[in-house]
Symmetry: D2
Subunit: 337 residues, 4 copies
Amino acid sequence: MLVGVAVVGCGYWGPNLIRNFYESNEVDLRWVCDLQSERLNSIRKRFPTVAQTTRLEEVLADPKVDAVCVATPSNTHFELAKLILESGRHVLVEKPLCDSSDKVEQLIEIAERRGRVLMVDHTFLYNPAVRCVRGIIDSGRLGNLLYFDSTRVNLGLFQRDVNVLWDLAVHDLAMMDYLIPDRRPFAVSATGVAHVTGQPENMAYLTCFYDDNLVAHIHANWLAPVKLRRTLIGGEKQMIVYDDLEPSERVKVYDKGITVTDESEIKELLISYRSGDCWSPKIPAGEALQNEVRHFVDCIRSGASPLSDGHAGLRVVKLIEAGTKSMQLRGEPVELK
Amino acid sequence: MLVGVAVVGCGYWGPNLIRNFYESNEVDLRWVCDLQSERLNSIRKRFPTVAQTTRLEEVLADPKVDAVCVATPSNTHFELAKLILESGRHVLVEKPLCDSSDKVEQLIEIAERRGRVLMVDHTFLYNPAVRCVRGIIDSGRLGNLLYFDSTRVNLGLFQRDVNVLWDLAVHDLAMMDYLIPDRRPFAVSATGVAHVTGQPENMAYLTCFYDDNLVAHIHANWLAPVKLRRTLIGGEKQMIVYDDLEPSERVKVYDKGITVTDESEIKELLISYRSGDCWSPKIPAGEALQNEVRHFVDCIRSGASPLSDGHAGLRVVKLIEAGTKSMQLRGEPVELK
Amino acid sequence: MLVGVAVVGCGYWGPNLIRNFYESNEVDLRWVCDLQSERLNSIRKRFPTVAQTTRLEEVLADPKVDAVCVATPSNTHFELAKLILESGRHVLVEKPLCDSSDKVEQLIEIAERRGRVLMVDHTFLYNPAVRCVRGIIDSGRLGNLLYFDSTRVNLGLFQRDVNVLWDLAVHDLAMMDYLIPDRRPFAVSATGVAHVTGQPENMAYLTCFYDDNLVAHIHANWLAPVKLRRTLIGGEKQMIVYDDLEPSERVKVYDKGITVTDESEIKELLISYRSGDCWSPKIPAGEALQNEVRHFVDCIRSGASPLSDGHAGLRVVKLIEAGTKSMQLRGEPVELK
Amino acid sequence: MLVGVAVVGCGYWGPNLIRNFYESNEVDLRWVCDLQSERLNSIRKRFPTVAQTTRLEEVLADPKVDAVCVATPSNTHFELAKLILESGRHVLVEKPLCDSSDKVEQLIEIAERRGRVLMVDHTFLYNPAVRCVRGIIDSGRLGNLLYFDSTRVNLGLFQRDVNVLWDLAVHDLAMMDYLIPDRRPFAVSATGVAHVTGQPENMAYLTCFYDDNLVAHIHANWLAPVKLRRTLIGGEKQMIVYDDLEPSERVKVYDKGITVTDESEIKELLISYRSGDCWSPKIPAGEALQNEVRHFVDCIRSGASPLSDGHAGLRVVKLIEAGTKSMQLRGEPVELK
């Protein structure tokens, strides 16, 4: 049986979700919905078999719709997802899950009560390179984790109603949450600045403190000259560099995280460019969203909890809230409950 | 007339200074001094005409010594520089100038009283690429400065008596101080961690707050899988990427720092890798230390104050002190007086 | 009025053409045709409004079909294109236009006699980066052209019925023909080798000789460890590097092609990584095939001759024939008539 | 006992040899000799303990001189090396060994008759990265060798009395000769062009034909916008990319040299950037010339034949002669005897 799906929201990201649901062999994509009919028009030719509407009620009135995907601005996620869950449908919500942790908690409660899947579009968890990194971490070859350091900078500053943590850092926080399983930060310190008066912060630096001297740091910036997507993961024995824009070697594993005291070794390190042998696994082809759609369908069918469930969404939103508060206090640390 | 010079300290960095003084046509390099005679032995063949000693008094007893260069561990800088200045010699001190701002202030006072040159080895101020960046900033083409973001990560963790701010970030702070002339940060927030128990912090993130929403951020790490040296400088109109390890295009200038609101422009930016035309000036060849030695000699002769004088050294040491304090408080901001 | 189009061939490349015709606002894509019905099935969902058939006659019987695009194996191009032209339709043929120059000449004759557009899919002529390079050449800023050097190496060796010149070098020859307008090579020398017994050559090196000491060289290889797409264009005053895989700086223009005799300049060059300032224009976004489809439609409507017309296709096929012959003679030069 | 050494020639390359002999603990560098006394002056300060002369006779009159290194223009190599060997000294000659194979054969004969070491400065044979590549080849993991492809392009065209094969390609030919041991090419085809009238060719492409479909290709160019130093080595099972300018990953080994026939694999290859896992060994630090000087000294002491002996020099010179002849015939193949 195909899973009947509707997608709400045809802005920048929606069409990517639409295309992946459309091309899935396990999905019957029945509806796309957007308040702006021009947006619907712009995709009609590409998806001619999918019904279009500007009214969500019409979607929810269709008994063949089993699940709805929400790709609208984040301040509308809560109301829409609530309506969808209450109507008995499963829901996949674009990141961030909601614009406050209170709302996320309510959605979790509703989803559990109604026995429906609540999943957040933490896309990178379904990216083959990130999967590969997780496999390397799980193998234990890195040794104790020392740090996670992620940079995500983009090219242009544009009008947004939320700060850059909600929009860019959310990806890195979701990755961090996935790649450091079973451990949670206890505090956050963040700094950031808004370069347009009256606008939210467009660049931010955020440190997450974990026990045992593990730290994670995220650098997010909407106003950079070049696009960067690079994550360093330091372990006691090996280290990873994951550069999502590197076409041929997205993931590299370096042989040792060294501790040296001998003077000649220090001299050699100071003139070297890296510390040991390097290995770069071939990353399987495959689009993250395709994996994500498949996972959503699997969870709907099996009743299993998705990798990026409401709780994952909640942890990330709480980190953003703490980071936002710390930014306003110029880096003063904020505890996480 | 040649300037008579002695160099104290033949560890990792000393021989670079020795070589540059040795090869200068304006210098008579008379002495090298180190407490460890094996170190002296190791360079005897390369500099056979230079006298060697393990006793500083012997150096200071030579009336032909006009200036002394100090390349010893930083906790010895104050005592040595004080002795040298009090003996009436000019002094060039490896970075950081001292291990506390109090001591720097005393050295400044002595140097002024004795009318001698006090210069700190902020090497990057004499690097042709950094000079080129300063020229671009001075031309005004960047428009208002928005941010300075510098990453300096190294390959190995080794025994140090000071944290990574004193050892690595000092370079970026010196660059920042030089590249953002006439403006001073009013507060600092820093986070960092020590991965070896009982050792000082080996990785750190530091934000400097300036008026008018200018921020500077420095990321320093001794324990990375790869070596990185990259500085982004964001302006309202243009932006710079300076990558000191990029062999062919160390400095790149990007055409615009964009503000967009139009949806199609946003889509284009989201799939682009940069924002405008790019121009990469040819950086003249030439070693930073050679320029630095020449500048030291010029200041000795002319009586002019060096670019990296005691006051520059003091500003940098104060930033490191504030950063160190903030790190201990997990990012709590520390005001600069 | 929309132009009625059919696409014949749904292998590797066909679906790209289908998608671009499908998404064009000036085209009514009426048919896709392939002998293998599984291939048709595989794209039915993506293009549900397009009729499918395994029989070309059905396509040609549709009076609303104005033009046909042929994306089948190259040994079938001639028969198909001939049939299509004779039926009074315009035709766009995947590269190489035919597998022999005799056949191309016949197609040119038929197209001219019937007054129909004959266009070959020399995709790179419609690539925004190549367009940008042509603009720079046309501006005259390079000075006299000295050489064209293009490398196109791919990852895997696979069964082909033609040598690598027909399959890979054809792109570079088409670019060369476009970027060096008004000049034609007079001879070709090529070397190459087949690593699988009984198969055609899978790697080749080809030199084209022009008057006035201009040379063009193409390196094509199906069996490389990494993918490379790089073209150097040397001029007396400036030089271009075009790297199609470089995400952020696909085209770079270097300031001077130097002639030096002074010894100190030589030393500087020997340690430098490039010769002058570098400028990298922002390449407009946009898919080559979309530009190509638009150009095909424009030529159909206006009756103009396309940029990649039969004559361009003929010149390229003649170069490949000469190169193939030279390869068999281990590099012996072959004159072009 | 130290080996007494003299170096003749203080132009561009000579000082590098002088420094390495000077710093060797097994060498007593006694003389540097150059016809131009200004050149001698320019290095006096760096090597103050070494005697200087403009007359070779003075060097040869010193009974403590055991060996002489010749770093003069190549058209003087024969006369100088002959004189040195006849005087009973060992000789290390800068590449190319002589400017004709006849002369090399005479030197070989003299060296054998006099029982002296004749070594040519094929520097790359002593480069740690090339050594590492040779080790990988010797391990057999590449499988049958399919091709060797080397690019060496430089930044400026300058007055030379010999073509670019003698000056640049000589390095690649020496590497090829070393990395493909026990196999010799049977013919050469080359093309090239001179962009300055009356001057020798400043760019060249050269193919060496071996039995069993192995080919080697070398691209050498004095007039490029960027410096490139890249060698691809293709094997049936694995492949190597060696890029001498890549700071952190000079040697990379790719997992498979694939043969595929399946359509889905072809599609994946066509969109991939490489073919399998990649491994990049850490290259030990160490200067090639230092290894070379040590090897020269070892051969002098042990009487062993150097890796780059007269016969290696002869093979390379014969390849250059054949390539030069072929270039004049626009690629016509020239047999090697």
